[in-house]
């Protein structure tokens, strides 16, 4: 409760500023106005609709980007030839701020879904690749030798030893990737608006609907937080072997 006191104070202060009209509502509407607008947007369906579209884009783009990043990271991590082929191009891609690619992607892919998805793919593939690659390379070679002794196939080695061994860094990459996916979708939807939360945001700017703009920002924040929490949940589930509960009575042998 104490931890929320300051937040609460800010909200109360904010409402006070709005009620006394110390700032014009077009600059900063109060929290009660925001809640009312948000409720209206939910009722008329504009907010859930936009949300669903943005979410679908993030899911599609990051699914492709994550799978691609995993595969490329495995290829580069497993084989020297793979590293020679894959690493340099991805490292170059890494140095480009992906937002700068937006106009190019529109030029190449037109104005539909394709350039938006492509931007999300590019944003997510890099962190997943980097963490998978270094994660695979960092798997204890002594464990990899076990796979050799028992003559596991390349696929078994990847699935049973290398990927699980690289899982912790891969999940870190995944968290970065999903964070970037939301940034990518915002950029894509505001530069090239056609439905989605970003479209809502740009339309609101045209009509100086500060309340809607603030709601969109809050929605983005909430979605970012939500995906982060989801990955953390997945992480604790998948990495639970790292801190196993010791048996109550630890026997000698």
């Amino acid at each position: 409760m104490r931890r929320w006191a300051s937040t609460l104070a800010v909200i109360v202060l904010w409402q006070l500023v709005a009620a006394l009209e110390l700032l014009p509502p077009a600059v900063l509407p109060g929290p009660i106005t925001l809640l009312r607008s948000a409720a209206a947007m939910v009722v008329d369906g504009s907010l859930p609709g936009a949300l669903a579209i943005s979410l679908a884009r993030v899911l599609a783009g990051s699914a492709v980007g994550i799978v691609l990043g995993l595969l490329l990271g495995l290829v580069a991590g497993l084989w020297r030839v793979g590293e020679d082929l894959v690493d340099r191009p991805v490292q170059m891609l890494r140095t480009i701020p992906f937002t700068a690619l937006t106009p190019l992607l529109i030029l190449w892919f037109g104005l539909g879904e394709a350039p938006k998805i492509a931007l999300i793919v590019i944003a997510t593939v890099v962190p997943v690749y980097l963490n998978t690659f270094s994660g695979v390379r960092a798997v204890d070679p002594k464990l990899v030798e076990v796979a050799t002794v028992y003559r596991l196939s390349a696929r078994q080695r990847a699935v049973l030893v290398l990927l699980p061994g690289a899982l912790a860094p891969v999940l870190v990459g995944l968290r970065y990737a999903l964070g970037l996916a939301w940034i990518a979708v915002i950029v894509a939807e505001t530069v090239n608006p056609s439905a989605g939360v970003g479209h809502l945001l740009t339309t609101a700017r045209t009509y100086v609907r500060t309340d809607i703009m603030l709601i969109c920002v809050a929605v983005y924040a909430a979605l970012g937080l939500l995906t982060d929490t989801l990955v953390r949940l997945v992480e604790t589930r998948l990495l639970r072997w790292r801190a196993p509960a010791l048996p109550a009575a630890t026997r000698r042998m």
Partner: protein, 246 residues
Amino acid sequence: MSLSRTTRQCEGGVQVRGLSKRYGQRLVLDGLDLDVELGQIVALLGRSGSGKSTLVRILAGLDRPDASHHLAVGSVAVAFQEPRLLPWMPVWRNVALALEGAGAPRTDHGPRTAAVAMLDEVGLADRADDWPLALSGGQAQRVALARALVREPDVLLLDEPFSGLDALTRISMHQLVRRLHARHRRTMFLVTHDIDEAIRLADQVLVLAEGRIAAAHLVRHPLHELRRDLLGELGVTEDETSRTRH
């Protein structure tokens, strides 16, 4: 130079002729000959850095020799100094891993049944669903033994598997190895630097020095004489022995 890894040629044992391995300037194995007979426990003694692990790694197919006239090894499984369990798999899956790769034996009732049965033999059936990190060092090493045995290898290579364990745990591991050997009759090649461990477990004790098998003893004649001979062959002087006996 022939690099054959077939069971037929040596009928499940180990036969090596003229094996050499060099690391940089250092010739670690220098034309080594080795025979391990089927069903026996052969202990290999050698001072630290004498090339014991190098030999095991070559027999296990983890390293390539620089030269060898003849190298015939049956199917192998290895227990290393560290248990090397995959921490992200429950204990039984670690054992069942040995049933996955090429050359793994068929199981009648599925991998889990086979794994748990073998865990039972090392006294850990009740830990089948635990994570490896929840095990003590000795328990983890016993799981590693179960993993190696469930593979039903012609030759079980053991590279100082007990040296990281405390003295009491080591003694019960010795008893376990004897019991498992009596039951499965697997050929075992046990690398150790512990003379007493070698004498206690092996049918035959070899000494690795200067990159070759410098001496071979059947564990028969009076043990204190064997012990003294082995000490001498390992290059441990009377002075060193008395110093280590406080």
